[in-house]
């Protein structure tokens, strides 16, 4: 049942203060509570919003703000049902508590492009329940029937009588929450569904926004950790004398991940770490080498793997096909490289611990911290700060950067809070990469040019293996994140005989989801390969896709919209050519048309026209921003991103050799949203997958070169 824990309940009372009245709803008590209905309870508005005497409405966010706009979208949902004045709405991050568990995933987390769509009901209901209680309070005061009252712009109104929410909050919170409440039809929305500017802009343009990196506490120390230069390596021994001689260095302590230098400030800790002398045992990964990995993965791609999708007799169908097309693809390891390097501040006290960090995984962090510190989870307070980018890196199933900071604080002892800061080099060397993958395809076409046999083998490390998610998310040996976008592809499913199989080689390299996860490579493979199939079939790429996707109206909808807006088929000047791609991910459909030119061996992307169908759209302004950003993220990977290994070590270290897209490379981006009343889908990630294939297809159209490796390297 979604009732807040004692901890969070007290919190709302305590934060009431003199000026702000907590919107506190008394728990359902007695028999009624014991005979709770089987149907899920309405959310307790007490956990999700607070109305102040100053008329402010503070929406409490169960998800972290990492740029995706949850700081604005969730308040829009509450405000829509509550009927408050949008100008009075603000937001704050929730503490870690069971009531804030993700409605679908059962733990408090941010990811899977789900922050808005997963909360469509809970936050609207929270607003609606609060509205009903405000109306009841006003109706009682006026001695009228609640049905004669309505809420609008922060007031309950009945005839010529008006009372503000701020004046009603104290009485409203004593009311019994309604057992049922009806939500507005989205077509009647006044706040949600309209393009709305971000609520977090003012603090982010003035430098006042508090990221984890900005946490400052009395007596706080800063630590840097020297980690093994080779994954799986361990400390054999170390000499700390020179490090300890650096002015401002307070302590040098060994932790499971390496050796930490604790200083008065970053600079002391950094100089101290530079002066450390450590003997490393390189461990089993000492000969890791990208060229060898490539050979190993390619060899594996020629052998049968674990079946991820199968139908018919693919070998027989290939033999009888009119034509066969084959190709091999490769994508590299990638670092998320959020602009804010990882960091985590920890204070361990006698009766509890506190953690300040930008995280996507509060429940894991709380559990892991409690375990290391010898506490109960409820004794660990997590302060979720703004995230200076997440992209999946701040959602590690091991809580790597949080657990390490707790280990440092524990090893250092003492009451001082310690902030562990990663440098950019630590970040690029730090693992948890998007895995490298090799795909091999062999597809047979029938006389009409349509595929009759589809054989595809994928090779790459499993993200989920060895994590707490494995039992739930690895089925029959298949990590869905390795094959999503292929095993469920309409091209594959629409081919009578198909076989998709997977090899998940084990490596010492820690791997993780990166924005769009498996789709970050599968869309590139599928959408460039379909262009090749179209050519083999002698058909035009758009027409060919329309034929293959004729049973998939939402694919067709975005495909046709993007093609129309981009002027597909119309002549282009200046050596430009177009390429297109369409892909479904995270419950949304996205098509993109890229306009590209190639001169002196350099790819220039001029324009990307995007069409998206994400179902019901809560903040169209946020959707546009996410898609624009996704194009940039996809282009970073397509044009630049690559980590390589030699002698066990990652060869890149900072933005000079792991470049990200820069402003002068940013194309014009148009975003067209398909009006829809379908179930809401995600938007943080779906813009990424079509970018690389749309650009690759445009490069082919411009030059005749088919690029099957990321990042693009022209011959």
């Amino acid at each position: 049942m979604s009732t807040p824990s004692g901890l969070s309940r007290r919190r709302f009372l305590q934060t009431s203060g003199a000026l702000v009245i907590g919107f506190y709803v008394a728990p359902r008590s007695g028999l009624a509570a014991m005979q709770a209905p089987a149907a899920p309870a309405l959310p307790d508005p007490n956990a999700f919003l607070r109305i102040g005497e100053d008329e402010s409405v503070t929406v409490i966010l169960a998800h972290s703000e990492m740029g995706q706009g949850v700081w604005t979208a969730l308040p829009m949902l509450v405000a829509e049902e509550l009927g408050c004045d949008w100008a009075k709405v603000r937001a704050e991050e929730a503490p870690a508590a069971p009531v804030y568990a993700h409605p679908a995933f059962g733990m408090q987390m941010t990811g899977g492009s789900s922050s808005t769509y997963s909360e469509l009901d809970r936050y609207r209901y929270a607003g609606a329940v609060a509205r009903e209680m405000l109306i009841q309070a006003a109706a009682e005061q006026w001695k009228v029937d609640p049905s004669a009252c309505r809420a609008e712009a922060g007031f309950v109104v009945s005839g010529d009588k008006r009372l503000s929410f701020g004046k009603l909050a104290a009485a409203a919170q004593k009311r019994t929450p309604p057992a049922t409440v009806k939500l507005k039809d989205p077509k009647d929305w006044k706040i949600a569904g309209r393009p709305t500017k971000r609520l977090d802009s003012p603090e982010k343009v003035t430098g006042q926004a508090q990221f984890g990196m900005d946490v400052r506490l009395p007596g706080m120390l800063t630590a840097l950790v020297a980690r093994a230069p080779i994954f799986g390596g361990t400390v054999k021994g170390f000499r700390a004398e020179k490090a300890k001689a650096v002015p401002g260095v307070k302590a040098v302590v060994q932790v499971p991940s390496g050796v930490a230098v604790v200083g008065e400030h970053f600079w002391a800790a950094k100089l101290g770490r530079d002066a450390l002398e450590i003997d490393w045992d390189p461990g089993p990964g000492a000969d890791l080498d990208t060229q060898r990995l490539r050979e190993e993965f390619r060899a594996a791609a020629g052998t049968p793997g674990t079946k991820a999708a199968a139908a018919g007799d693919v070998d027989a169908a290939l033999k009888s096909a009119a034509k066969t097309v084959e190709a091999e693809y490769e994508v590299p390891y990638l670092a998320h490289a959020p602009m804010e390097p990882l960091n985590c501040t920890v204070r361990i006290g006698a009766d509890g611990a506190e953690v300040w960090t930008g995280t996507q995984f509060q429940t894991m962090d709380q559990t892991v911290t409690a375990k290391i510190a010898g506490l109960k989870p409820e004794q660990v307070k997590i302060h979720t700060m703004f995230l200076g980018g997440g992209f999946g890196r701040r959602a590690t199933p091991t809580s790597d950067f949080v657990s390490e900071a707790v280990q440092v604080a524990k090893a250092a002892g003492g009451a001082a809070p310690i902030k562990v800061v990663w440098t950019r080099e630590d970040d690029i060397h730090g693992g948890y990469y998007r895995p490298m993958y090799v795909h091999r395809l062999r597809v047979g076409l029938g006389a009409d040019g349509k595929p009759v046999a589809w054989r595809q083998t994928i090779v790459g490390q499993s993200i989920l293996e060895g994590t707490p998610f494995a039992p739930m998310m690895i089925k029959n040996g298949i990590d869905d994140t390795s094959v999503e976008g292929v095993a469920d592809s309409p091209y594959v499913k629409g081919t009578a005989s198909h076989l998709v199989d997977l090899h998940s080689p084990k490596k010492t390299i820690p791997v993780l989801w990166l924005r769009s996860v498996g789709h970050s490579h599968t869309a590139f493979v599928m959408e460039t390969f379909v262009d090749d199939l179209a050519r083999a079939a002698g058909q035009e790429p758009l027409e060919y896709r329309r034929r293959l996707l004729s049973e998939h109206p939402r694919h067709l909808g975005v495909l046709n919209l993007a093609a129309e807006k981009a002027g597909w088929g119309r002549p282009l000047s200046g050596g430009r050519a177009r390429g297109l791609a369409v892909h479904e991910s995270f419950g949304s459909w996205m098509a993109q048309v890229a306009e590209v030119s190639v001169a002196s061996g350099r790819v220039r992307v001029h324009r990307v026209v995007c069409a998206v169908d994400c179902g019901i759209c809560v903040n169209p302004a946020g959707v546009r921003a996410q898609v624009e950003g996704a194009v940039a993220f996809g282009l970073s990977a397509a044009l630049h991103g690559e980590l390589t290994f030699k002698d066990g070590r990652v060869q890149q270290s900072n933005f000079h050799d792991y470049p990200l897209l820069r402003l002068n490379e940013m194309p014009e981006v148009e975003v067209h949203i398909v009006p829809s009343s379908e179930k809401a889908g995600g938007i943080g990630e779906p813009g990424v997958p079509p970018v690389a294939p749309a650009v690759a297809n445009a490069i082919f159209a411009a030059t005749g070169q088919r690029l099957r490796r990321l990042p693009f390297r022209l011959a």
Binding site: K204, V205, P247, F266, P338, M339, G389, T423, L663
Partner: protein
């Protein structure tokens, strides 16, 4: 060392080789200036020294004694600058971490060239990275800031 930051004199007890970034953040408590790379690759740490945009992560604090340092906190007082208003109107920010550096870079550009061309904007702003990819809106906000400043001038 003595530092003049945002028009205020500070006495900072810091080693001479300590980068200005860390003196601002860890000694003076001005955390609006961000750490992103530590090697002048990303621009998150951009501040002004005598009106010029510099990368505070590679600038020894001792070297700016006797010069006027301005940070994002100084740009925000007494009220929002035209640039910051433009940033809000264009709904630029996403995660927001790089934006103080972006805004300081834009402020230096607009001080030097009140009506920058698109090429000026590309030249001046391409040294600042944004992983969220807000570049289109940064371009638009710089143009709008030029307009806003022109209107109030």
């Amino acid at each position: 060392m003595k530092l003049n930051v945002n028009g205020k004199e500070y006495e900072a007890a810091a080693p001479d080789d300590m980068p200005l970034l860390w003196v601002l953040r860890d000694i003076l408590g001005l955390t609006g200036t961000k750490f992103g790379c530590g090697m002048a690759q990303c621009g998150a740490c951009t501040v002004h020294v005598d009106g010029q945009a510099v990368r505070s992560c590679v600038t020894p604090a001792a070297s700016v004694q006797g010069h006027a340092v301005k940070t994002i906190e100084g740009l925000s007082a007494p009220g929002l600058s035209a640039i910051q208003r433009a940033w809000i109107e264009e709904d630029v920010v996403q995660c927001g971490y790089c934006q103080p550096g972006q805004i300081m870079a834009a402020a230096a550009l607009l001080a030097a060239r009140p009506h920058p061309s698109d090429a000026d904007i590309d030249n001046a702003m391409s040294a600042n990275l944004c992983r969220c990819g807000t570049y289109l809106r940064i371009r638009a906000a710089v143009r709008r800031a030029a307009e806003l400043a022109g209107r109030t001038a």
